[in-house]
């Protein structure tokens, strides 16, 4: 910046940027999101609904061994042993539950970020002087990377907001995430992704994607959707149970009208409550489906909690678990009504390809139930 001409250009560049930030932050909040059809709709508001969240949490499951699953990268560490009393053990368990809830936090389901074709200003007179782009990053303390303003002065003299890729790279320079790569790893490229999916190491793939991408990045959505589809194709839903990806996966299927295979899996695994919840979720997302009354009738239950010491402990644990639950017992009194709802769904809303399979699973469940009752009567 020794040349006075350069200095002037730089000052001009800077002034423009500062002005822009004010304008940009004012305009950002007032941009309305349009929703024409479900395909282009933003799923985030629906995903964040309280009822939707409770349903997704209940379905996730809370198998501690699975939540704290084996970390391959830390293999070869010596286990430590603690000698503890009852009280200390209880404390340790509560701490573990708190940790598990933290670990089960679901990544948000968002709409893909669309590139903004906005130009703040055009200064063709300085285009000849620019050999490379200028990137201006707001590095004020206490801001999250998503809220930072990054602006780019292109070589043709135009000033524009940074694309999401540029923004990520610029932020990476100041707040470094060691695991996140500047360039997308090869494993997320479609060809390589297929190879990794064959190994069925879904958790590794999804966790890695969570680190690499923002939740509204098109790549993140592409990778997640491909993994969920592969899970449905191979019927390995158990791989994602008790992980933070089961909720988003369920939401993805409900959003895209494809809950049949997941329903079948739930009925086969004797998770009738989950199956009913899934239908309710389906109904919340697609309000045109009208089975709400019957569902409300089923889910209305009154809890009579005994006030004993153990029950209080359990209550405390449940409160800590924040809506997650280990395994829900099916209420025997309402089984027939639930099966009826499922049959109803199967007849009217299920796609033709999967309806037969779903119906078969419901019938086998009924048969099993009947044979069980007969044996009980005989005994």
């Amino acid at each position: 910046m020794s040349c006075p001409n350069d200095l002037r250009i730089f000052q001009r560049l800077l002034r423009r940027t500062i002005c822009l930030h004010r304008n940009f932050s004012a305009g950002a909040s007032s941009s309305p999101g349009k929703s024409a059809s479900l395909h282009n709709k933003d799923p985030l508001p629906v995903f964040l609904q309280e009822r939707v969240q409770t349903i997704l949490k209940q379905m996730t499951g809370f198998d501690m061994a699975k939540v704290f699953s084996f970390n391959l990268t830390l293999k070869g560490k010596k286990p430590t042993f603690a000698l503890v009393t009852d009280e200390q053990l209880e404390e340790m368990h509560l701490k573990a539950i708190r940790k598990a809830v933290y670990k089960l936090q679901m990544p948000p389901v968002m709409k893909a970020d669309e590139p903004v074709e906005q130009v703040y200003g055009q200064d063709p007179e300085i285009a000849n002087l620019l050999d490379f782009k200028f990137v201006f990053t707001d590095i004020s303390i206490g801001l999250k990377d998503r809220d930072r303003h990054v602006t780019v002065r292109d070589t043709d003299g135009s000033l524009r907001p940074a694309t999401s890729d540029e923004k990520q790279r610029a932020c990476q320079m100041y707040s470094t995430n060691e695991v996140r790569k500047v360039i997308m790893p090869k494993m997320f490229e479609p060809d390589h992704l297929e190879n990794i999916l064959h190994e069925k190491n879904y958790i590794y793939l999804l966790e890695r994607a969570c680190i690499q991408f923002e939740p509204d990045s098109p790549d993140f959505i592409r990778v997640c959707n491909r993994v969920y589809n592969h899970v449905a194709e191979t019927q390995t839903f158990n791989a994602l149970r008790s992980t933070r990806f089961f909720g988003p996966m369920t939401f993805y299927f409900a959003w895209n009208n494809r809950i049949e295979s997941l329903l079948t899996d739930m009925i086969q695994n004797d998770l009738l409550e989950d199956a009913i919840d899934l239908i309710e979720l389906y109904q919340i997302i697609h309000p045109s489906v009208n089975m709400l009354e019957s569902i409300n009738m089923v889910t209305m239950e009154i809890d009579n909690v005994e006030q004993s010491e153990e029950a209080m402990k359990q209550l405390k644990k449940n409160k800590l678990m924040n809506g997650y639950c280990i395994k829900r017992e099916t209420d025997e009194n309402t089984i027939s009504e639930k099966l009826k709802i499922l049959m109803d769904f199967c007849k009217h809303h299920a796609s033709k390809e999967h309806a037969a399979e779903l119906e078969l699973s419901i019938q086998t469940y009924e048969d099993r139930l009947q044979s069980h009752q007969i044996t009980q009567q005989n005994a």
């Binding site: 970390n71 293999k75 070869g76 010596k78 430590t80 042993f81 000698l83 503890v84 053990l89 573990a96």
Partner: protein
């Protein structure tokens, strides 16, 4: 002798044959024919005595001779067979299939004679004069012992079968093999071999024994069979390491053994390493203090320590506390391994220092842990500068590799030759 006699008689008969017609010649001419006698011994001393007796006649000295001090500069026996090849000889024959190929191309080789080869006989003479050197048999690295040609640490045969049981999967390792002497007034020094052997199935069962015999292999066999009678079950944690750290002492030999994670290996005395191999302990660190050369005491101390290990359940029952396992790879999830079997848990546990699982069985003792010695040049200015430079470049190799993966690095072009 008969042959020699024959030769003479033949000469006489010739004279007699001519005697009738030529007797007048004898008398008249007084010319006597010359009679020459050739001794021809076709059988001799060399033919019917064997090799050893013949050599004894040349090199040996009689007992009386020995007493008189004869034969001190003894000639050594020469092996006349050295350098000889079957089929070769003075005739110089070609024997197809023995000294040559049966076929040379399409042509079948026929028996023929090429005459004696002078080189062949020269070589035999040359080899007779050469000194014979002893060649040791080369062992594979896994067959060798701890050091040199000593037997300690080598593998031996498994124990002999007892009844129907044939000790399948058991391995024997020699820990010590030495010559021992018993000297008494009446009988002079009596030498024997003493062998210490460890036997194990590599899966938690092992035993050791010491035995003596006049020959070393007999001593090893005796000890092996004895050890097979004294097998004991030794507890291991997840089949790869000790259940807990322990201290064990036999006279002046003290052993501090530490359990280790998978992949650590055996870092200990070579004797303990051999024992661990046979028992099936794969990961352990051990420090031996006091006498480290007394193999017998070392083995005893280690086996005692292994046998007296406490299981987690026993520990829980003794202290009336829960034993909880915490692993980093499971993100510190507490898993209860053992609880008091009668269900009674104390509410006033001993102070926290006494409950440290790592030092629980050391009885207040701790092995000497020497710090790592810094090299003499650690404080040198030049060394520090080099370290700084290395720190600066430490990531570059990795970064370059990453750039190559994403095809950002220009490919390395092959060097152009000087001509072009």
């Amino acid at each position: 002798m008969s042959v020699a006699r024959y030769t003479v008689s033949f000469a006489l008969r010739q004279i007699n044959g001519h005697s009738k017609g030529a007797s007048h010649l004898l008398t008249s001419c007084r010319v006597l024919p010359t009679v020459s006698i050739y001794p021809a011994r076709n059988n001799s001393f060399f033919r019917h005595e064997d090799n050893d007796r013949l050599w004894a006649s040349v090199t040996g000295v009689s007992n009386t001779g020995k007493k008189k001090g004869r034969g001190k500069k003894q000639r050594s026996i020469i092996n006349l067979h050295r350098g000889q090849i079957i089929g070769e000889g003075r005739a110089g024959m070609v024997w197809p299939g023995l000294t040559s190929e049966t076929k040379r191309g399409d042509e079948i080789v026929k028996r023929s004679q090429h005459g004696p080869k002078q080189e062949y006989f020269d070589n035999i003479i040359k080899q007779r004069g050469a000194k014979q050197t002893f060649r040791s048999v080369k062992l594979m690295p896994l067959q060798r012992g701890w050091t040199g040609t000593t037997r300690a640490g080598t593998r031996s045969y498994p124990p002999d079968p007892v009844g129907d049981y044939d000790f399948e999967g058991f391995e024997t390792r020699i820990l010590q093999l030495k010559k021992v002497t018993n000297t008494s007034g009446t009988v002079k020094a009596v030498f024997r071999f003493s062998a210490m052997v460890v036997v194990g199935n590599k899966n938690g069962i092992g035993g050791y024994a010491v035995a003596k015999a006049k020959k070393w292999d007999a001593a090893v066999r005796k000890a092996t069979n004895q050890a097979a009678q004294r097998l004991q079950y030794l507890h291991r944690y997840e089949g790869h390491t000790l259940n807990h750290n322990f201290f064990s002492q036999q006279t002046a030999t003290k052993v501090y053994a530490f359990r280790k994670e998978e992949g650590y290996g055996l870092v200990c005395h070579r004797c303990l390493k051999t024992i661990c191999d046979t028992i099936g302990v794969h990961n352990m660190y051990a420090k031996v203090e006091g006498s480290t050369k007394n193999i017998q005491n070392l083995t005893k101390a280690f086996f005692n320590g292994l046998r007296e290990q406490e299981t987690h359940q026993e520990l829980a029952d003794r202290l009336k506390l829960h034993v909880v396992e915490i692993r980093k790879e499971h993100d510190y999830l507490p898993v209860v391994v053992a609880s008091p079997s009668d269900g009674e848990v104390t509410k006033e546990p001993p102070p926290k220092e006494e409950l440290n699982f790592e030092t629980l069985y050391f009885d207040g003792k701790m092995s000497l842990q020497k710090g790592k010695k810094r090299p003499f040049y650690a404080e040198n200015e030049g060394h520090k500068r080099a370290e700084r430079h290395r720190r600066m470049l430490r990531i570059q190799r990795k970064a370059r590799h990453e750039r190559m993966i994403y095809e950002l690095e220009p490919p390395i072009m092959p060097k152009e030759s000087e001509d072009s």
